[in-house]
Protein backbone atom coordinates (compact mmCIF):
# COMPACT_ATOMS: atom_id res chain seq x y z
CA UNK A 1 0.00 0.00 0.00
CA UNK A 2 2.75 2.39 0.89
CA UNK A 3 4.30 1.75 -2.46
CA UNK A 4 2.26 4.76 -3.45
CA UNK A 5 5.44 6.71 -2.87
CA UNK A 6 6.67 5.25 -6.10
CA UNK A 7 3.41 5.75 -7.93
CA UNK A 8 3.55 6.65 -11.64
CA UNK A 9 2.59 10.25 -10.99
CA UNK A 10 5.63 10.75 -8.81
CA UNK A 11 8.09 9.15 -11.17
CA UNK A 12 6.60 11.23 -13.94
CA UNK A 13 7.56 14.31 -12.03
CA UNK A 14 11.01 12.98 -11.33
CA UNK A 15 11.57 12.25 -15.00
CA UNK A 16 10.20 15.56 -16.13
CA UNK A 17 11.94 17.58 -13.52
CA UNK A 18 14.12 19.46 -16.01
CA UNK A 19 11.68 19.37 -18.90
CA UNK A 20 10.12 22.39 -20.58
CA UNK A 21 7.82 24.32 -18.31
CA UNK A 22 4.93 24.98 -20.61
CA UNK A 23 3.64 21.58 -21.67
CA UNK A 24 -0.04 21.21 -20.86
CA UNK A 25 0.29 17.58 -19.88
CA UNK A 26 2.91 18.56 -17.38
CA UNK A 27 0.57 21.10 -15.85
CA UNK A 28 -1.82 18.29 -15.18
CA UNK A 29 0.93 16.10 -13.80
CA UNK A 30 2.05 18.80 -11.44
CA UNK A 31 -1.51 19.32 -10.32
CA UNK A 32 -1.76 15.68 -9.47
CA UNK A 33 1.44 16.04 -7.52
CA UNK A 34 0.08 18.80 -5.37
CA UNK A 35 -2.96 16.74 -4.62
CA UNK A 36 -0.77 13.79 -3.88
CA UNK A 37 1.29 15.37 -1.16
CA UNK A 38 0.05 15.86 2.29
CA UNK A 39 1.73 19.11 3.06
CA UNK A 40 5.29 20.43 2.77
CA UNK A 41 6.89 17.84 5.06
CA UNK A 42 5.51 15.09 2.85
CA UNK A 43 6.90 16.78 -0.24
CA UNK A 44 10.28 17.31 1.44
CA UNK A 45 10.46 13.66 2.42
CA UNK A 46 9.69 12.63 -1.11
CA UNK A 47 12.39 14.92 -2.46
CA UNK A 48 14.83 13.59 0.13
CA UNK A 49 14.12 10.01 -0.87
CA UNK A 50 14.87 10.88 -4.45
CA UNK A 51 18.39 11.77 -3.47
CA UNK A 52 18.71 8.02 -3.17
CA UNK A 53 20.96 8.18 -0.17
CA UNK A 54 20.38 7.13 3.40
CA UNK A 55 18.06 9.62 5.00
CA UNK A 56 20.64 10.05 7.77
CA UNK A 57 23.15 11.30 5.25
CA UNK A 58 20.87 13.54 3.29
CA UNK A 59 22.13 17.02 2.48
CA UNK A 60 19.75 19.56 3.87
CA UNK A 61 21.11 22.28 1.59
CA UNK A 62 20.45 20.19 -1.46
CA UNK A 63 16.99 19.40 -0.19
CA UNK A 64 16.25 23.08 0.39
CA UNK A 65 17.30 23.86 -3.17
CA UNK A 66 15.07 21.16 -4.56
CA UNK A 67 12.09 22.35 -2.59
CA UNK A 68 12.60 25.96 -3.59
CA UNK A 69 12.98 24.97 -7.23
CA UNK A 70 9.79 23.01 -7.02
CA UNK A 71 7.87 25.90 -5.53
CA UNK A 72 9.29 28.33 -8.09
CA UNK A 73 8.17 26.07 -10.87
CA UNK A 74 4.72 25.74 -9.44
CA UNK A 75 4.50 29.50 -9.19
CA UNK A 76 5.74 29.93 -12.75
CA UNK A 77 2.92 27.64 -13.82
CA UNK A 78 0.60 29.82 -11.75
CA UNK A 79 -0.57 26.86 -9.75
CA UNK A 80 -2.51 27.64 -6.68
CA UNK A 81 -0.21 26.70 -3.82
CA UNK A 82 -1.49 26.12 -0.35
CA UNK A 83 -0.19 28.70 2.09
CA UNK A 84 1.81 26.19 4.12
CA UNK A 85 3.93 25.31 1.10
CA UNK A 86 4.85 28.97 0.75
CA UNK A 87 5.51 29.36 4.47
CA UNK A 88 7.84 26.39 4.31
CA UNK A 89 9.53 27.86 1.23
CA UNK A 90 10.15 31.14 3.01
CA UNK A 91 11.47 29.35 6.06
CA UNK A 92 13.77 27.16 3.98
CA UNK A 93 15.06 30.19 2.08
CA UNK A 94 15.90 31.77 5.39
CA UNK A 95 17.52 28.57 6.61
CA UNK A 96 19.61 28.36 3.49
CA UNK A 97 20.89 31.91 3.73
CA UNK A 98 21.68 31.42 7.41
CA UNK A 99 23.54 28.19 6.70
CA UNK A 100 25.65 29.96 4.10
CA UNK A 101 26.74 32.68 6.50
CA UNK A 102 30.13 32.36 8.15
CA UNK A 103 29.72 30.61 11.46
CA UNK A 104 30.39 33.68 13.61
CA UNK A 105 27.64 35.64 11.85
CA UNK A 106 24.98 32.96 12.15
CA UNK A 107 21.82 33.94 14.00
CA UNK A 108 20.42 32.28 17.06
CA UNK A 109 18.98 29.64 17.16
CA UNK A 110 21.75 28.34 15.00
CA UNK A 111 20.85 27.22 11.50
CA UNK A 112 22.49 23.88 12.30
CA UNK A 113 19.93 23.37 15.01
CA UNK A 114 17.08 24.31 12.69
CA UNK A 115 18.38 22.01 9.98
CA UNK A 116 18.83 19.22 12.46
CA UNK A 117 15.29 19.67 13.64
CA UNK A 118 13.99 19.40 10.09
CA UNK A 119 16.18 16.39 9.57
CA UNK A 120 14.83 14.67 12.68
CA UNK A 121 11.28 15.36 11.64
CA UNK A 122 11.85 13.86 8.21
CA UNK A 123 13.39 10.77 9.77
CA UNK A 124 10.43 10.33 12.07
CA UNK A 125 7.89 10.74 9.31
CA UNK A 126 9.83 8.30 7.13
CA UNK A 127 10.00 5.81 9.99
CA UNK A 128 6.25 5.95 10.57
CA UNK A 129 5.55 5.69 6.87
CA UNK A 130 7.63 2.54 6.64
CA UNK A 131 6.06 1.18 9.80
CA UNK A 132 2.60 1.76 8.35
CA UNK A 133 3.57 -0.09 5.19
CA UNK A 134 4.90 -3.05 7.16
CA UNK A 135 1.83 -3.06 9.35
CA UNK A 136 -0.51 -3.09 6.37
CA UNK A 137 1.48 -5.90 4.78
CA UNK A 138 0.98 -8.25 7.72
CA UNK A 139 -1.30 -11.25 7.54
CA UNK A 140 -4.52 -9.47 8.24
CA UNK A 141 -7.64 -11.02 9.60
CA UNK A 142 -10.35 -11.19 6.96
CA UNK A 143 -7.81 -10.65 4.17
CA UNK A 144 -5.10 -13.22 4.65
CA UNK A 145 -6.30 -15.29 7.55
CA UNK A 146 -9.86 -16.12 8.40
CA UNK A 147 -11.89 -16.82 11.46
CA UNK A 148 -14.30 -19.69 11.51
CA UNK A 149 -17.02 -18.97 8.98
CA UNK A 150 -19.97 -20.30 10.92
CA UNK A 151 -19.25 -20.42 14.63
CA UNK A 152 -21.96 -21.94 16.78
CA UNK A 153 -21.48 -19.12 19.23
CA UNK A 154 -20.93 -19.21 22.94
CA UNK A 155 -23.98 -18.05 24.72
CA UNK A 156 -24.41 -16.57 28.10
CA UNK A 157 -28.07 -16.77 28.90
CA UNK A 158 -28.92 -14.09 31.33
CA UNK A 159 -31.63 -15.10 33.68
CA UNK A 160 -33.21 -12.45 35.80
CA UNK A 161 -33.95 -13.11 39.37
CA UNK A 162 -36.68 -10.63 40.03
CA UNK A 163 -36.87 -8.96 43.37
CA UNK A 164 -39.98 -7.63 45.03
CA UNK A 165 -41.05 -7.70 48.64
CA UNK A 166 -44.35 -7.93 50.38
CA UNK A 167 -44.49 -4.32 51.43
CA UNK A 168 -43.73 -3.05 47.92
CA UNK A 169 -46.57 -5.22 46.71
CA UNK A 170 -49.27 -3.96 49.00
CA UNK A 171 -48.00 -0.42 48.82
CA UNK A 172 -48.32 -0.58 45.04
CA UNK A 173 -51.86 -1.82 45.38
CA UNK A 174 -52.68 0.99 47.78
CA UNK A 175 -51.36 3.50 45.32
CA UNK A 176 -53.35 2.04 42.47
CA UNK A 177 -56.46 2.29 44.60
CA UNK A 178 -55.78 5.86 45.59
CA UNK A 179 -54.95 6.91 42.08
CA UNK A 180 -58.14 5.54 40.62
CA UNK A 181 -60.52 6.54 43.41
CA UNK A 182 -63.02 9.16 42.26
CA UNK A 183 -61.67 12.45 43.52
CA UNK A 184 -64.03 15.08 44.91
CA UNK A 185 -62.83 18.63 44.84
CA UNK A 186 -64.33 20.96 47.40
CA UNK A 187 -63.89 24.68 46.92
CA UNK A 188 -64.01 26.28 50.32
CA UNK A 189 -66.53 29.05 50.77
CA UNK A 190 -64.62 32.18 51.62
CA UNK A 191 -65.20 35.85 51.96
CA UNK A 192 -64.67 37.98 48.89
CA UNK A 193 -65.20 41.60 48.06
CA UNK A 194 -67.20 41.88 44.89
CA UNK A 195 -66.32 44.40 42.22
CA UNK A 196 -69.57 46.26 42.90
CA UNK A 197 -68.85 46.74 46.56
CA UNK A 198 -65.22 47.70 45.79
CA UNK A 199 -66.45 50.30 43.27
CA UNK A 200 -68.79 51.94 45.73
CA UNK A 201 -66.25 51.76 48.52
CA UNK A 202 -63.42 53.29 46.50
CA UNK A 203 -65.53 56.04 44.96
CA UNK A 204 -66.96 57.04 48.31
CA UNK A 205 -63.49 57.17 49.87
CA UNK A 206 -62.19 59.24 46.95
CA UNK A 207 -65.01 61.69 47.56
CA UNK A 208 -63.82 62.53 51.09
CA UNK A 209 -60.09 62.65 50.35
CA UNK A 210 -58.64 65.27 48.06
CA UNK A 211 -55.02 64.20 48.22
CA UNK A 212 -53.22 61.24 46.62
CA UNK A 213 -53.95 58.01 48.47
CA UNK A 214 -52.30 54.68 48.18
CA UNK A 215 -54.50 51.88 46.92
CA UNK A 216 -53.80 49.84 50.04
CA UNK A 217 -55.38 52.53 52.18
CA UNK A 218 -58.71 51.73 50.60
CA UNK A 219 -58.74 48.19 51.94
CA UNK A 220 -60.82 47.24 54.97
CA UNK A 221 -58.29 47.61 57.80
CA UNK A 222 -58.89 44.61 60.03
CA UNK A 223 -60.06 42.08 57.52
CA UNK A 224 -58.99 38.45 57.32
CA UNK A 225 -55.85 38.17 55.11
CA UNK A 226 -57.74 36.21 52.47
CA UNK A 227 -60.43 38.83 52.33
CA UNK A 228 -57.72 41.49 52.03
CA UNK A 229 -56.31 39.78 48.97
CA UNK A 230 -59.72 39.67 47.37
CA UNK A 231 -60.33 43.30 48.30
CA UNK A 232 -56.98 44.37 46.84
CA UNK A 233 -57.79 42.74 43.52
CA UNK A 234 -61.32 44.18 43.38
CA UNK A 235 -60.18 47.64 44.46
CA UNK A 236 -57.49 47.66 41.79
CA UNK A 237 -60.04 46.83 39.11
CA UNK A 238 -62.38 49.41 40.61
CA UNK A 239 -59.61 52.05 40.44
CA UNK A 240 -59.03 51.27 36.77
CA UNK A 241 -62.74 51.50 36.11
CA UNK A 242 -63.02 54.87 37.87
CA UNK A 243 -60.01 56.19 35.94
CA UNK A 244 -61.64 55.06 32.71
CA UNK A 245 -64.81 56.93 33.65
CA UNK A 246 -62.72 60.03 34.35
CA UNK A 247 -63.58 60.02 38.04
CA UNK A 248 -60.06 59.23 39.30
CA UNK A 249 -56.40 59.77 38.47
CA UNK A 250 -53.79 57.01 38.83
CA UNK A 251 -50.07 57.39 39.40
CA UNK A 252 -47.24 54.95 40.00
CA UNK A 253 -43.68 56.20 40.26
CA UNK A 254 -41.92 52.94 39.62
CA UNK A 255 -42.65 49.44 38.51
CA UNK A 256 -44.31 47.57 41.37
CA UNK A 257 -44.25 50.77 43.39
CA UNK A 258 -47.26 51.87 45.40
CA UNK A 259 -50.26 52.70 43.26
CA UNK A 260 -51.61 56.16 44.07
CA UNK A 261 -55.00 57.54 43.21
CA UNK A 262 -57.09 60.63 43.85
CA UNK A 263 -60.48 61.84 42.83
CA UNK A 264 -61.13 64.15 39.91
CA UNK A 265 -63.49 66.95 40.73
CA UNK A 266 -66.57 67.46 38.70
Amino acid sequence: MMQEVDSPALSLLADDWDGPAAAASEDAALYLELDGWEGPLDLLLDLARRQKVDLRRISILELVDQYLTYIERAEALRLELAADYLVMAAWLAYLKSALLLPREEQPDPSPEELALRLHLRLQRLAAMRDAAARLMARDRLGRDVFLRGAPEGLRVDRKHKWQCDWFALIQAYGQVKVRTQPVVHMVRDRMVMTLDSALSRVSSLLGVNLDWMELRDFLPPHADPRLRRSALASSFVAALELARLGKAELAQEQVFGPLLLRGVKG
Binding site: F146, L147, R148, G149, A150, E152, G153, L154, R155, V156, D157, R158, K159, H160, K161, W162, Q163, C164, D165, W166, A168, L169, I170, Q171, A172, Y173, G174, Q175, V176, K177, V178, R179, T180, Q181
Partner: protein, 202 residues
Protein backbone atom coordinates in the same frame (compact mmCIF):
# COMPACT_ATOMS: atom_id res chain seq x y z
CA UNK B 1 2.54 -35.81 15.25
CA UNK B 2 2.91 -36.10 11.50
CA UNK B 3 2.14 -32.96 9.58
CA UNK B 4 -0.78 -33.10 7.17
CA UNK B 5 0.08 -32.54 3.53
CA UNK B 6 -0.79 -29.30 1.80
CA UNK B 7 -3.99 -30.54 0.25
CA UNK B 8 -5.31 -31.70 3.60
CA UNK B 9 -4.34 -28.37 5.15
CA UNK B 10 -6.12 -26.48 2.39
CA UNK B 11 -9.28 -28.54 2.72
CA UNK B 12 -9.16 -28.08 6.48
CA UNK B 13 -8.86 -24.30 6.13
CA UNK B 14 -11.59 -24.12 3.49
CA UNK B 15 -14.00 -26.07 5.68
CA UNK B 16 -13.12 -23.96 8.67
CA UNK B 17 -13.64 -20.65 6.90
CA UNK B 18 -16.81 -21.71 5.06
CA UNK B 19 -19.89 -19.84 6.15
CA UNK B 20 -22.17 -22.80 5.52
CA UNK B 21 -21.79 -26.53 5.02
CA UNK B 22 -20.00 -27.13 1.76
CA UNK B 23 -19.91 -29.96 -0.77
CA UNK B 24 -16.92 -31.94 -1.93
CA UNK B 25 -17.36 -30.37 -5.36
CA UNK B 26 -17.32 -26.85 -3.98
CA UNK B 27 -14.19 -27.48 -1.97
CA UNK B 28 -12.58 -28.98 -5.00
CA UNK B 29 -13.54 -25.94 -7.10
CA UNK B 30 -11.93 -23.73 -4.49
CA UNK B 31 -8.71 -25.70 -4.70
CA UNK B 32 -8.30 -25.66 -8.44
CA UNK B 33 -10.17 -28.90 -9.09
CA UNK B 34 -8.08 -31.14 -6.88
CA UNK B 35 -9.60 -34.44 -5.75
CA UNK B 36 -10.41 -33.85 -2.10
CA UNK B 37 -12.20 -37.03 -1.10
CA UNK B 38 -9.17 -38.61 0.56
CA UNK B 39 -8.34 -35.39 2.33
CA UNK B 40 -11.89 -35.23 3.71
CA UNK B 41 -11.65 -38.78 4.99
CA UNK B 42 -8.29 -38.10 6.56
CA UNK B 43 -9.59 -34.98 8.28
CA UNK B 44 -12.71 -36.73 9.53
CA UNK B 45 -10.48 -39.40 11.07
CA UNK B 46 -8.14 -36.84 12.53
CA UNK B 47 -10.91 -34.91 14.23
CA UNK B 48 -12.73 -37.94 15.55
CA UNK B 49 -12.82 -37.79 19.33
CA UNK B 50 -11.61 -34.22 19.46
CA UNK B 51 -13.67 -31.24 20.71
CA UNK B 52 -14.56 -30.48 17.11
CA UNK B 53 -15.55 -32.99 14.52
CA UNK B 54 -15.90 -33.05 10.78
CA UNK B 55 -19.26 -34.41 9.76
CA UNK B 56 -20.98 -35.17 6.50
CA UNK B 57 -24.67 -34.44 6.14
CA UNK B 58 -25.93 -35.60 2.77
CA UNK B 59 -23.43 -34.15 0.32
CA UNK B 60 -22.37 -31.35 2.60
CA UNK B 61 -19.45 -31.28 5.00
CA UNK B 62 -18.92 -29.08 7.99
CA UNK B 63 -17.09 -28.79 11.26
CA UNK B 64 -19.17 -28.82 14.39
CA UNK B 65 -18.39 -28.87 18.06
CA UNK B 66 -18.71 -32.34 19.54
CA UNK B 67 -22.32 -32.95 20.56
CA UNK B 68 -21.37 -34.14 24.03
CA UNK B 69 -19.84 -30.72 24.72
CA UNK B 70 -22.88 -28.71 23.70
CA UNK B 71 -23.78 -27.95 27.29
CA UNK B 72 -20.50 -26.05 27.67
CA UNK B 73 -21.36 -23.62 24.94
CA UNK B 74 -24.14 -22.09 26.87
CA UNK B 75 -23.86 -20.67 30.28
CA UNK B 76 -26.47 -19.23 32.55
CA UNK B 77 -25.98 -16.28 34.71
CA UNK B 78 -28.49 -15.07 37.21
CA UNK B 79 -28.87 -11.38 37.74
CA UNK B 80 -30.87 -9.83 40.49
CA UNK B 81 -33.21 -7.12 39.32
CA UNK B 82 -35.78 -5.11 41.11
CA UNK B 83 -39.28 -5.28 39.77
CA UNK B 84 -40.33 -2.00 38.21
CA UNK B 85 -43.06 0.07 39.79
CA UNK B 86 -45.46 -0.73 36.95
CA UNK B 87 -44.78 -4.45 37.23
CA UNK B 88 -45.28 -4.35 40.99
CA UNK B 89 -48.63 -2.67 40.51
CA UNK B 90 -49.74 -5.21 37.95
CA UNK B 91 -48.64 -8.04 40.20
CA UNK B 92 -50.62 -6.57 43.07
CA UNK B 93 -53.71 -6.21 40.92
CA UNK B 94 -53.45 -9.80 39.71
CA UNK B 95 -53.03 -10.94 43.30
CA UNK B 96 -56.03 -8.99 44.60
CA UNK B 97 -58.36 -9.54 41.68
CA UNK B 98 -57.41 -12.84 40.09
CA UNK B 99 -58.30 -14.17 37.66
CA UNK B 100 -58.09 -10.95 35.74
CA UNK B 101 -57.71 -9.96 32.09
CA UNK B 102 -55.31 -7.39 30.78
CA UNK B 103 -58.17 -5.01 30.01
CA UNK B 104 -59.35 -5.32 33.60
CA UNK B 105 -55.84 -4.65 34.90
CA UNK B 106 -55.72 -1.55 32.77
CA UNK B 107 -59.10 -0.42 34.00
CA UNK B 108 -57.97 -0.78 37.59
CA UNK B 109 -54.58 0.87 37.07
CA UNK B 110 -56.01 3.65 34.94
CA UNK B 111 -53.07 3.36 32.54
CA UNK B 112 -52.17 1.11 29.68
CA UNK B 113 -50.10 -1.89 30.62
CA UNK B 114 -47.34 -3.00 28.31
CA UNK B 115 -47.44 -6.64 27.29
CA UNK B 116 -43.85 -6.86 28.46
CA UNK B 117 -44.88 -6.15 32.03
CA UNK B 118 -46.96 -9.32 32.25
CA UNK B 119 -44.18 -11.22 30.50
CA UNK B 120 -41.74 -10.14 33.19
CA UNK B 121 -44.12 -11.37 35.88
CA UNK B 122 -44.52 -14.68 34.12
CA UNK B 123 -40.75 -14.96 33.67
CA UNK B 124 -40.37 -14.32 37.38
CA UNK B 125 -42.72 -17.22 37.90
CA UNK B 126 -45.30 -15.28 39.88
CA UNK B 127 -48.07 -14.96 37.33
CA UNK B 128 -49.52 -17.54 34.99
CA UNK B 129 -52.14 -17.64 32.31
CA UNK B 130 -55.26 -19.11 33.91
CA UNK B 131 -57.36 -19.62 30.81
CA UNK B 132 -59.75 -17.40 28.93
CA UNK B 133 -62.78 -15.54 30.06
CA UNK B 134 -65.92 -16.74 28.29
CA UNK B 135 -67.00 -13.35 27.06
CA UNK B 136 -66.77 -11.85 23.58
CA UNK B 137 -63.14 -11.75 22.47
CA UNK B 138 -62.31 -14.53 24.98
CA UNK B 139 -59.55 -12.53 26.66
CA UNK B 140 -56.71 -14.34 28.39
CA UNK B 141 -56.96 -14.16 32.15
CA UNK B 142 -54.09 -14.18 34.59
CA UNK B 143 -53.65 -15.50 38.11
CA UNK B 144 -50.83 -15.88 40.60
CA UNK B 145 -48.80 -19.06 41.01
CA UNK B 146 -47.88 -21.11 44.07
CA UNK B 147 -44.38 -19.58 43.69
CA UNK B 148 -45.94 -16.21 44.24
CA UNK B 149 -47.30 -17.28 47.62
CA UNK B 150 -43.99 -18.83 48.57
CA UNK B 151 -41.95 -15.83 47.56
CA UNK B 152 -44.10 -13.41 49.50
CA UNK B 153 -44.48 -15.72 52.47
CA UNK B 154 -48.25 -16.09 52.16
CA UNK B 155 -50.24 -19.13 53.15
CA UNK B 156 -52.95 -18.16 50.73
CA UNK B 157 -54.24 -15.11 48.93
CA UNK B 158 -56.55 -14.48 51.87
CA UNK B 159 -53.44 -13.41 53.79
CA UNK B 160 -53.19 -10.31 51.65
CA UNK B 161 -54.27 -7.34 53.75
CA UNK B 162 -57.81 -6.19 53.05
CA UNK B 163 -58.81 -2.74 51.98
CA UNK B 164 -59.63 -1.70 55.56
CA UNK B 165 -56.23 -2.78 56.76
CA UNK B 166 -54.56 -0.92 53.94
CA UNK B 167 -56.50 2.15 54.88
CA UNK B 168 -55.58 1.81 58.53
CA UNK B 169 -51.94 1.53 57.53
CA UNK B 170 -52.28 4.80 55.64
CA UNK B 171 -51.66 3.05 52.32
CA UNK B 172 -54.88 4.40 50.87
CA UNK B 173 -54.13 8.01 51.72
CA UNK B 174 -53.62 10.17 48.72
CA UNK B 175 -49.89 10.39 48.18
CA UNK B 176 -49.66 14.14 48.87
CA UNK B 177 -51.69 13.89 52.08
CA UNK B 178 -49.64 10.96 53.25
CA UNK B 179 -46.51 12.96 52.58
CA UNK B 180 -47.82 16.02 54.35
CA UNK B 181 -48.85 13.89 57.32
CA UNK B 182 -45.41 12.42 57.44
CA UNK B 183 -43.79 15.85 57.30
CA UNK B 184 -45.72 17.67 60.02
CA UNK B 185 -47.09 15.62 62.83
CA UNK B 186 -50.70 16.51 62.93
CA UNK B 187 -52.59 19.07 64.94
CA UNK B 188 -55.59 17.88 62.96
CA UNK B 189 -53.93 14.81 61.45
CA UNK B 190 -56.43 12.65 63.26
CA UNK B 191 -59.07 13.93 60.93
CA UNK B 192 -59.21 10.85 58.69
CA UNK B 193 -60.38 7.59 60.15
CA UNK B 194 -60.82 8.56 63.80
CA UNK B 195 -63.07 11.43 62.82
CA UNK B 196 -65.58 9.05 61.31
CA UNK B 197 -65.65 6.88 64.39
CA UNK B 198 -65.74 9.98 66.57
CA UNK B 199 -68.76 11.22 64.71
CA UNK B 200 -70.50 7.94 65.10
CA UNK B 201 -69.96 7.93 68.82
CA UNK B 202 -71.11 11.52 69.07
Amino acid sequence: MNRPDDLVRAVEAALFAAEAPISEAEISAHLGGAAVRDALEELAAHYEGRGVELVQRGKLWHFQTAPDLAHLLRREREESRRLSRAATEVLAIVAYHEPVSRAEIEAIRGVQTAKGTLDVLMEAGWVRIAGRREVPGRPVIYATTPDFLTHFGLESRRDLPGIDELRAAGLLDPVEDALAAAMEEPPDGESQAPLASGEESA
